[in-house]
Symmetry: C2
DNA sequence: CTGTTAGCGCCTTCAG
DNA sequence: CTGAAGGCGCTAACAG
């Protein structure tokens, strides 16, 4: 019994011959170790809880894929849960993860509150925030510099001679992805003595953005739109075309996230690339370091971003 | 100890007062039952294994979301794994699921082989195939009638006066989704005395489809394209526009799957709707019935499909 | 290097 | 209606 455990986990030296006998028996009986029993005895389940707002959102699936790939590399599995970004559900899920004795949690949320942090501490489980900013930096996280990316985008557009640059996004509370992007946008617009223009929607979604841009375009002259994400950016392109204006001639459009959508738009969409897959992959790798007490250089990993220029903002 | 178990699982009558005392204690100690121990003792983990080729593929995330939503309703959780459609990996994953003592497996694969079936039987775990056809109907499954959908599409296009209808898809082995769709296409073309035209790609992916259609359009006159999925259909639209032809005037385009992409294309894409979310939801609901020995009317659930007409195939 | 012995935290009889 | 006792299948000391 114990010897079998030893060869299976390679946790101590076993004589070659005995090892062979064990392996043979295992094969003959087509024995499979019971991971649940193993988890109970060892206190480690080789399972990571993944809490995301919504897997079916444009980019999330890629991110999850990144997590899962790295997880497999390290012999972990993932339990996937959707929170819809609801605080109550998120807190509940963290509790459930605890019950399930996951070894760690990769957590994504539109906005982190102190209630989250409390729950994390209570649960005593290693956490990695992914694409979720903790302004106070209490929790390990993997992010990009969203505000900085907006700054870059405004720079980029202004250098191309655009001055009436609008920001298309929803209005959320503080600590949101979009709010960070908006913050960078506002800062750089002011920095360049340009007047910020806002096209606001209730939710970040194609149809709403389509309508918002359509009406806005007829009311106020603008020559560029920076959208909070690709889906809205594409809505902007279509809205502009619907209003018989031209992209990029009349209005340049820049998106955010570099989802597959960006290259499926006509004109192809200039977008700020976040490595979605890497997001997940890096977060999971980070997790494994935490779990194996590997040394880590920083608790706040910042992934690089980059403007991918396509036709939607090309020189006219 | 035993009484606590009884109140937690509501598995026997407990005096109201004792129940209250237990609940109070639980709250005071912020006690959480250990799901792993529970799983070991009860032989049920309340966990479902979900094996999919690739979550990050266009529609899969929606499907997974459907699974997860219904799973939560019934207090299950899901372990998500990507197989990349590789037989070896799929078999391996089924084994792992067994070790993890999942209560059931929802399985998706581009093509089911007898090796799969053997592994299922060996593992002795309830299985539900999802969007995966078992030609011999040995395993419970949730599908649409793919061949029938293609028949409908050809009908639809022919009634609109199109006669040179091409099928855009990759060449796979038998038992594939695309092969079913192709089968229906061929059958109905012949049935109507039309000559099947094939635009083949190696993989089912935007870039390849784009190139394939571009070159094909210049070589052979066609007036309609039925694509194996939306992504390829959008590639077709763009390829046609790139070649200075018009959609739908010169060539009508019909896609498959009704992913979000379809409404983000210009012209908007006519597509054969499969309820992706429902796919997952129904499969998971099916699973719960299996697990609770509820009566089930049929082992092969066939979901309805429907042609959603948009501009890409509108009357000219 | 290998067998023996305790648990891991819960569920499930079995008495009372 | 409630407590006591055994066991789920494995890991982790402990001897030998």
């Amino acid at each position: 019994m114990a010897t079998v455990s030893r060869v299976l986990n390679d946790t101590a030296v076993v004589k070659d011959e005995t090892k062979k006998r064990v392996l043979d028996a295992i094969a003959k009986l087509s024995y499979r170790p019971n991971a649940v029993a193993r988890g109970l005895a060892s206190k480690r389940t080789k399972t990571i809880g993944v809490i995301v707002p919504d897997v079916s959102a444009a980019f999330m699936a890629e991110l999850v894929r990144g997590i899962e790939d790295v997880a497999r590399m390290y012999h972990y599995h993932i339990i996937l849960c959707n929170s819809d970004g609801l605080l109550a559900r998120e807190v509940d899920l963290i509790g459930t993860m605890w019950e399930k004795q996951v070894d760690g949690i990769i957590f994504m949320s539109p906005a982190l509150t102190s209630e989250h942090v409390n729950t994390f501490e209570e649960a005593q489980i290693p956490i990695v925030l992914c694409r979720t900013d903790d302004p106070e930096g209490r929790i390990p996280s993997v992010n990009i510099d969203n505000a900085g990316a907006s700054v870059d985008a405004v720079n980029y557009l202004h250098k191309k001679g655009r001055t009436k640059i609008a920001f298309l996004g929803s209005i959320h509370h503080e600590g949101t992805l979009t709010s960070e992007r908006r913050r960078g946008y506002v800062a750089e617009m002011k920095n360049r003595n340009l007047t910020p223009i806002f096209i606001d929607t209730a939710r970040e979604e194609y149809q709403e953005a389509l309508l918002a841009v359509r009406t806005h375009v007829t009311m106020e002259p603008i020559d560029a739109i920076l959208a909070a994400n690709d889906e809205m950016a594409i809505a902007a392109i279509h809205a502009i075309l619907d209003e018989k204006k031209s992209v990029p001639k009349d209005i340049a459009v820049v998106g955010f996230d570099n989802t597959k959508l960006s290259m499926m738009a006509r004109p192809e969409l200039t977008t700020i690339a976040q490595p979605m897959y890497d997001y997940g992959a890096v977060a999971m790798r980070f997790m494994t370091k935490l779990l194996q007490d590997e040394p880590i250089s920083t608790f706040r990993v910042v992934l690089p971003h980059q403007i991918l220029e396509h036709a939607s903002s090309a020189d006219v």
